[in-house]
Amino acid sequence: MKEGFRQSMAWLHTWSGLLVGWVLFLVFAAGTAAYFRDEITLWMKPELHALPHAPVAQAQAAERAVQFLQQRGADSPRWFISMPTGREPLVGVLWTKPAPPAGAAPAGERPRRARFENASLDPATGDTAHAPRATRGGDFFYRLHFDLHYMPAIWARWIVGFSAMFMLVAIVSGIVTHKRIFKDFFTFRGKKGQRSWLDAHNVTAVLALPYHLMITYTGLITLMFLYMPWGPQAAYKDRGGEQAFFAEVFPGGGRDRFQAAGEKAPLAPIAPMLAQASAHWGGAAAGRITVHHPNDANAVVAITRAEGPRLSYDQPSMQFNGATGALIATYGDVPQAAAETRGVLYGLHVGRFANPLLRALFFLSGLAGCVMVATGLLLWAVKERQKYAKVLRKGGRIGFGLRLVDGLNLGAVAGLPAAMAAFFWANRLLPVGLAERAAAEIRWFFIVWGALAVLALLRPTLRMWQAQLGLGALLFMLLPVLNAFTTTHSHLGATLRHGPGAVAGLDLVAIALGLGLASAVWFVERKRRKTLALKHAAKAPAPRTPGEPEALSQGLATSGHQP
């Protein structure tokens, strides 16, 4: 009975992992990159790297932002200001365009969602003179992680959530299946075919197991109100529905309860409000400022505390009367237990609390997750191929399913890194003034990935593995070289000496990733030579040593045309 349970868990592990493995690899890779979301964004805006990095007082930065918004969006219903941080040197401003008067919209056209305009301001001067090139930067990987692309976000979130649930099943069933977790804790046996793949899968899974469990579970938590809305729906049925629930759990949020009076009133100075909020939070800085109905008698200024070294994602906030500057209310100083639990789990997932070192450790565990998913996918193909050992020896062909998995594995595991590198190359090579430039960068990511995936499905051979891994290796290793040729202040020679450190760090990580991919190319080359030698040996009437036929069947995808 015990054996039966373990076998059924092994079956569950195999199929729950394989079915969603390719999506998971994308989610893991994009999520791992998103830990350095702000750093990637900074790297992709080389116009900002030569800016002086003297910290600017919060009050000054906020006042400059308000001045700018008074000029550009005085009649806007809502302003959003994000204050500069150590990771993001500029002030981000976003404002809603005023809605057209009722009846102005052409007949038959439904009123679309509010349209936004945004700008990045120099915190010291408040002007946009250093406007960087248009790019999505690290936000692209962040969104790709759960919104995918080229599809409605809700669909994508359901797909990603479905995959994450399978991942959780695969982790738990994998722990049951493994049974030698502590005996094989440090075990990696190289050059042993299937054994080595299994060891690599086990080591990357077990050594980062706390991370894998945490990240999968908290990932589901981040979107829990999408996946399981029924609790609040039932409990708040007669009390205003889900909106009432959110207003109660996350007080201070929501925007529908702010109504404009329609009477003009000048906006009170922002600096005293900032000072009051900061004093209330024991000197902590402000992170976001939202102004509802600026220049109206009912204006409300909401200030949210900056992210700091605290696990929870939810930050306390304060609201001020925009006309008088008087405090209206404070929120979240003593968070409710349930909201705080979710806030901590959410915070653990996104890791915004982490300093650079801890962030690097998250990144390392994320890479271990990528390797775990990749080796798991390859392991399925390696095992499946053994079933075809006899057929292959007679010159037959492998089945459609294995060939499909081979192609998908190649396109995902080898193709995705190359596409991610191509995204960075597009950032430096596309003309700065190009129309729809941010979208063009993303298009290049998908063009490269799509082309590589098609090639992978057409010819899933060891040669193709080498070509795609090699392309990724070259693109990553040469990224600092490209950077040196296309920028003046952003190459390693400048950034290692004068900073910004984040830009130098990205170049160095790119070299390391390139070297990792290059060693994978070398590994495949060894495998290919071994396979070739074995084929020659099999043709020649030489006495066969035991073990050879198995060796033929082990290793990476070789579904291509068997001679």
């Binding site: 804790f185 440090f186 990696f188 046996r189 190289g190 070294p309 696990l311 801890l358 450790l361 271990a368």
Partner: protein, 117 residues
Amino acid sequence: MNTPTFFTLAFTASLSGFCALGLAMDRHFEDVFGRGREPGRWRRWLQLAGTVLLCVSLAASLRAAGSSIGWVLWFGVLTAAALIVVAFLSYAPRRTPWLGLVSALAALGGLPFTFVS
């Protein structure tokens, strides 16, 4: 005492701790010291030292990042250290005791500061 020092202590302590725990296992002991050798009565001491060093690593992590984020830091440090020990045991088994010794000395040097200050 500042955070980088505590972090270094957490890292070296977990590195040496995992070296000790690995060497306490028959398979890795053979890889390192030759076929047929067994840890014998060393096993208990290696396991004890490994456990103590991992506890030191936890204490240093909590000092480095506080009592909540410290746990997150500890798990991250453990993962990084264990991956390094696996690489050593697989590709340079004979150097593993040296890795353990050097990192243990570094950890012991920083140990007094974890509980004082």
